[in-house]
Symmetry: C2
Subunit: 442 residues, 2 copies
């Protein structure tokens, strides 16, 4: 049995490693466009923030280590064309046949067609190379413009501020930061933190043109409101899209955003062709609709499922994701899970929501901090469908509890209100914020 | 309607406050043996550790504040005798009749019949007075002997060490610390921490006699092995028992340990007599047996249930407790929930257990620490019945997630393994320790 995997990141290398463990005779070839595999892309902001010095730390496992287990890794190769009918991949110089194909090409940062976007020092946050050029480019004198205030944008801001004295500005198209993930009250707290850190924030604003100097270096950006923002480094973090351009106009079914359609077994519409991770649209746990999650946790789980299903010793199903997310932003920590407001409104789900501001632990143990929790409940099912938290000192790890409740579809009632959460003075209060919120939802 | 509440701590004052909110015309009398109510006894170790200076901070709400809402509080009074038949409480000087009676007298530290236990400077950890005499007694020169290494004992050790340079020794009857709450691997880590902090630990050992000087001050303790431990302060923390001596030989049904038997409505065997909190035996959530939990969280919940059931606008049931506990011990943090090994063995429950040692978050963000997780699963039901964690920097707040899973009785299977827990580099790894443990239990 021979399996070809296109893409050497979380899903691809996850499938390769697991499949080899399940059946060491299985012939596995990974086709990867870079010279390394297993990039922990989530680490890039932390490298830029000088949490560690060696960019190789971003590589979870080296090509050699995979090859030692008998996995063949073809680096710096792109699969130009796939002949799905004859189960053959065409390269420039050779054709390779397969029994099973796994497409795990991930997502790609969106680079909007802004004038002069090809100027020097305009970066995306996607590869080891990006990480290295960014860290080398930013100095204490830099004027950094971060475009987009999603997770990656904010992580970059925090880390650049942590490592340098660079001046930072953020520009965001929407009327608030983190709009797709959090409700207004939470965005507001993050925006206050942005202000506290002396970072400029331009909202409901967009860049229409980059200004460059004679050396082709970016030196400013013109907004839709005709302001000029001075900058000599630009971080483009407005989002990603499935890296599936090479699959357009093939037999493989794609969503409108380019995501590969898969079923719960991570099978595509073509027999023996599997896909997983950021290049796919995947099942949402609660309402069983499909969407692209762009989360390493989803990629990771789908890798295991694909390997099991190719190996066939047992058949595995992806049961869905909640889009659970956690992020540190300076002293603030945010966590969320479940369907967002846009989904709830579009699908006209009748909800009851509660926002609680409390404290993380007792007043008499030091470092007591504010803790905010929003819970949104589906009135019909009495199930929690969205939670959002903001706090400090890891207090938002309570999200684990809420995810446990959501995952089990536990109904909000007097029994759930009595859930036996831990209490001792340095960690919580006898009536935890979760209890307070639940009692108000009944 | 007139309700008398005996006991002015968590359950008693909880019932009083809630009942008054539900029906402001309800006549409520609280009988309390001390001059204050609403003691947050969990705060005592933290007061001794000088986390705060004013012992009044231990009082969550003052007598006056309750009286302002129309609740009558009789302080420094003990209910000598209860005439359950005629619904009358006899004091020294008066009789008060009631429609409903709530017994919420809590628990009392065990003071074993050791010779010279009445010497000066031998303290229990139970009241505001205890807190004040302990903090006044301990100096940098003190030699403190803590008897018992349960939660209170260890919290006292940590706090005394935090506030003073006192020399500390712990003596424990069992062969390891925290035996009723944690398995051996966890006790061992705590014992290492005890050693690291230069605290002497005597295990499988007991005090048979206290030695006192001419001024009746304790100056040493003789062990069962005939060693003499020099000490001038003794903290007795070997456990508590329901404070129900005055109810012995009455019609009220008690357990062997003196705990008042209650049903899920917190009703005793006598009509219109309710009880809750540390003086009762309560339902255990998982296997529906009864036991005394001695947890503020249980007391808190039962207070609400009692108030609802007296008020009758809605009938509330206590669905049970898991005995969830969390404790900080110097740099270590421990959390646990569910049935302990003794229960599992006594009831011959067939289990599968897994112990994982992993890290709390990614290697490239600073302060990565060790994290241990044990999960015990009932093989028949596939439900998790015990979890234990030890870690640092609040990483054990993951216990919230495991409690959510236990509470919902979610079966351990491939679907649960995919639970969508949060990931980002400062908080976790893409495959969280909970995922690792679950994958090995399937």
């Amino acid at each position: 049995m021979k399996t070809i995997i296109i893409g050497g990141s979380t899903t691809g290398m996850g499938v390769a490693a697991k499949l080899k463990r399940l059946d060491e005779k299985h012939e596995i070839i990974v086709i990867q466009d870079k010279e390394y595999v297993s990039l922990g892309a989530c680490g890039i902001p932390y490298y830029v923030g000088r949490n560690f010095d060696n960019p190789e730390t971003l590589i979870a496992r080296k090509v050699e280590n995979f090859e030692e287990t008998g996995i063949r890794v073809l680096t710096k190769k792109s699969a130009h064309k796939i002949d799905f009918k004859n189960k053959v991949i065409n390269f420039e110089d050779e054709n390779i046949s397969y029994d099973n194909l796994v497409i795990a090409v991930g997502a790609k940062p969106i680079t909007p067609p802004i004038k002069n976007i090809d100027a020097n020092n305009i970066f995306t946050v996607n590869s080891k190379e990006d990480a290295i050029v960014i860290i080398n480019a930013i100095t204490d004198q830099s004027k950094v413009l971060v475009i987009g205030s999603g997770l990656i944008g904010l992580e970059m801001v925090e880390n650049i501020k942590h490592a340098t004295k660079a001046n930072i500005a953020i520009i965001e198209k929407a009327d608030r930061v983190l709009k797709n993930l959090f409700d207004e009250e939470f965005s507001k707290l993050v925006e206050e933190e942005i202000k506290n850190k002396n970072i400029d924030l331009y909202k409901e604003n967009e860049i229409v043109e980059f200004i460059k100097d004679a050396n082709n270096n970016v030196c400013g950006a013109k907004t839709i409101k005709s302001e000029i923002i001075n900058c000599d480094i630009v971080i483009l973090s407005i989002g990603v899209l499935p890296n599936t351009k090479f699959l357009k106009n093939t037999e493989l079914e794609l969503e409108n955003n380019g995501a590969i359609k898969i079923n719960e077994y991570c099978e595509t519409n073509i027999p023996n062709v599997y896909a997983g991770g950021d290049c796919c649209s995947s099942l949402s746990y609660l309402y069983k609709n499909n969407r692209t999650f762009y989360l390493a946790t989803v990629a990771n789980k789908q890798a295991k499922i694909i390997a099991n299903n190719i190996n066939k010793t047992k058949t595995s199903k992806f049961v869905g994701a909640l889009g659970t997310t956690i992020i540190r932003f300076f002293d603030l920590e945010l966590a969320r899970s479940g369907e967002n407001k846009m989904f709830i409104e579009t699908n006209k789900i009748e909800t009851k929501e509660i926002l609680i501001k409390d404290k993380d632990h007792t007043n008499y143990v030091k470092d007591q901090t504010d803790l905010w929790l929003k819970i949104i409940m589906d009135i019909e099912t009495k199930e929690i469908i969205n939670v959002q938290m903001i706090g400090k000192n890891k207090s938002v790890l309570r999200i684990y509890g809420l995810v446990g409740i959501i995952w089990a579809r536990t109904k909000v009632d007097e029994a759930l209100e009595q859930i036996d959460l831990p209490y001792s003075p340095p960690f919580s209060r006898t009536t935890d914020i979760i209890h307070i919120a639940l009692s108000k939802l009944i």
